[in-house]
């Protein structure tokens, strides 16, 4: 992938719902990743986010009806925190949109780049946060692809 020299032999997509079991959205809360022992066993070499159709030509997630991917506008209010295998803060508050590799160029400028986040992580400690005063968040899912070796 452009700009990322790290090799990945496997990748896995995970989804994180941004609402609780009753369907309520609670900005200010943490939305934890699902536990994924498979990913935890390996070294992460890149993380990529996928968005819905707000960005022309680049809405790259096709999902089942009802599993709505997060929009670009909403992604600008969301942050991803990644924790290391020893539960220490590894990547704290990564802007979600910065993980999206293909925003229209040159209008917004980002090209096909997967940043080389590297190391072992503990998926069940990682989470998405949304500021308490965020607006317009609906029942959405964040889709991330984790590349690993």
């Amino acid at each position: 992938m452009y700009g990322n020299n790290l090799q990945a032999t496997k990748f896995r997509r995970i989804s994180i719902p941004l609402f609780d079991q009753t369907g309520n959205k609670n900005p200010g809360s943490k939305y934890y990743f699902p536990d994924n022992p498979e990913i935890d066993k390996y070294f992460i070499t890149g993380i990529e986010a996928h968005l819905g159709s707000d960005i022309v030509n680049d809405g790259d997630v096709k999902v089942s009806v009802g599993l709505k991917p997060v929009t670009a506008a909403d992604a600008k209010q969301m942050y991803v925190s990644i924790y290391a295998e020893d539960n220490s803060e590894k990547n704290y508050l990564i802007p979600l949109l910065s993980l999206f590799p293909a925003i229209d160029y040159p209008i917004l400028g980002i090209r096909k780049t997967v940043k080389p986040y590297f190391g072992r992580i503990k998926t069940r400690s990682c989470y998405i946060t949304i500021p308490a005063n965020a607006i317009g968040i609906t029942e959405e899912y964040v889709y991330l692809t984790l590349y690993y070796e």
Partner: protein, 146 residues
């Protein structure tokens, strides 16, 4: 781009009144960023983040803002670098690699060169890529110039 071992998003708030041209605003203390080697940096405007984690509006224009990074020996290793060029949106999605040095965050600062497009209480978001000093020997080979 070099591998990203750790990163931490910091926020520099412009304050309750719009800063004047030439004003320096120091980055506040983040305990997690003491005793670190900084390996890269990026700065975001509202085309990537509209709302900071603390709920503040993010600046819309970085063209009048520069960044100075100071090391533990009080040397200005990065001096008045244009933050516009540190926004990955403006440079093909890349973050800026830095030859690693021990950062002294509380003496590092942003400088407002042109406050025209800025408003009070907006925030500049700076993302630091780093290695803990205690991990330097473990990871330094990833960052050696070749």
């Amino acid at each position: 781009m070099k591998p990203i071992i750790r990163s931490y998003l910091t926020e520099v708030n412009l304050g309750t009144s719009t800063p004047g041209n030439g004003a320096n605003i120091n980055i506040k203390d983040y305990p997690q960023l003491r005793n670190i080697y900084v390996t890269g940096v990026e700065v975001f405007s509202d085309n990537v983040i509209t709302l900071s984690p603390s709920g503040k509006t993010v600046v819309s224009n970085l063209k009048g803002i520069t960044l100075t990074l100071v090391d533990v020996f009080n040397m200005e290793i990065v001096y008045q670098y244009p933050t516009y060029d540190l926004n990955p949106v403006n440079v093909g999605g890349f973050y800026r690699d830095i030859n690693p040095f021990q950062l002294q965050l509380t003496k590092s600062y942003i400088t407002i060169l042109d406050a025209g497009a800025l408003n009070q209480n907006e925030s500049v978001m700076i993302n630091f890529y780093y290695i803990l000093a205690k991990d330097w020997t473990k990871y330094s080979s990833l960052y050696v110039r070749k």
